[in-house]
Symmetry: C2
């Protein structure tokens, strides 16, 4: 017997498609929305409805933006000759929050994952090569995640850009700030030892 009304069931099914949301959470969210005033649900619906019409990809860095070029590519105060390559717009948001990066970005929109059928042609990699080939880039900072596919993508990019004159760099790996050394995992600790940095003022 169908206890959940069809309209509610459809919303639950929609929500279950979102990442990290199972059937129980989706039901809880849908019932919450139903209990709240109709205006709140309609507001969320409206913001969803206009989302894809309002936001497009910046033609230069391929981030999500309402303007083209995006606010960063169009900002003369940012160093367009330093390009930080990230997997997703969410990674760019995280780096921007630090406030220390003054260059521009290049969003790949994924990582190379042959098992999922994602090769270089499915990502914005050709566009990165063209951007570098145009001679307007001095340094490419590869900021893919330190996961297996992230590292594989970084290696691919490094090899692809090997015969160009561009300077290549990678985010530093090591002990996270505030972490007790005895709780660091062995791979991170090994990397931190190998990549040890000299103390300023000493030789």
């Amino acid at each position: 017997m169908q206890i959940i009304p069809p309209a509610l069931e459809r919303l639950i099914a929609d929500l279950t498609r979102l990442p990290g949301i199972g059937r129980k959470t989706a039901t809880r969210l849908a019932l919450y929305i139903l209990r709240r005033p109709a205006a709140e649900g309609r507001n969320l619906a409206h913001d969803l409805m206009v989302l894809h019409d309002t936001i497009h990809l910046c033609h230069q860095c391929f981030t999500f933006s309402e303007t083209d070029p995006c606010a960063i590519c169009g900002n003369p105060g940012r160093d367009s000759r330093l390009v930080c390559v990230v997997e997703e717009p969410g990674d760019q948001i995280a780096i921007e929050k630090t406030g220390v990066f003054r260059g521009t970005y290049h969003i790949l929109h994924g990582v190379i994952a042959p098992m999922d059928g994602i090769g270089p042609d499915e990502l914005k990699i050709r566009e990165l090569r063209q951007r570098v080939a145009s001679g307007q880039v001095d340094e490419v900072l590869i900021a893919t995640s330190s996961t297996v596919p992230g590292e594989a993508t970084a290696s691919y990019l490094a090899e692809m850009l090997q015969d160009t004159k561009v300077r290549l760099s990678r985010l530093a790996c090591g002990i996270p700030m505030g972490m007790d050394i005895k709780y660091a995992d062995e791979h991170t600790l090994a990397r931190a030892v190998e990549s040890r940095q000299s103390v300023p003022g000493r030789t």
Copy 2:
């Protein structure tokens, strides 16, 4: 500097209002929706838009339903003289899933919580009293949660219905099925000892 486009920022703010969804999860969900085809986002938007127009409260049990009476109240196979009182439609869904309850329901839409300004008049309690006073109910099974406000609401209902001829019952409390006794919390274990049940066929 605004790195997140305003339309995306509005969606993130909407999602943050949902229970259990913080800023990070909301950002992850919004970026996911943006990466998926526009049709998927619009589908979710549509289902949200029609939700409150399609679903109303059953006039008898006050559950969410597209029909009035709801599928359970309108089913002659259900025992309308046995009424299970729950806090929320989600509780009703959980009980229906067990498949063992053949009566009808009464949804309070909350619990008595004086600190939050929620007294009996804010809940469907007057309607329960009327339903019982009409003489069409033999047993009221109080199935509020075994939390402090749930127990307080149950006590209030029991007192309110004391001078009626209706039979009152409460969900059994005890050790959850499959639980190792040494991991049960002391309150649950104390309740299980106090409410011990006699073994059938013995005296």
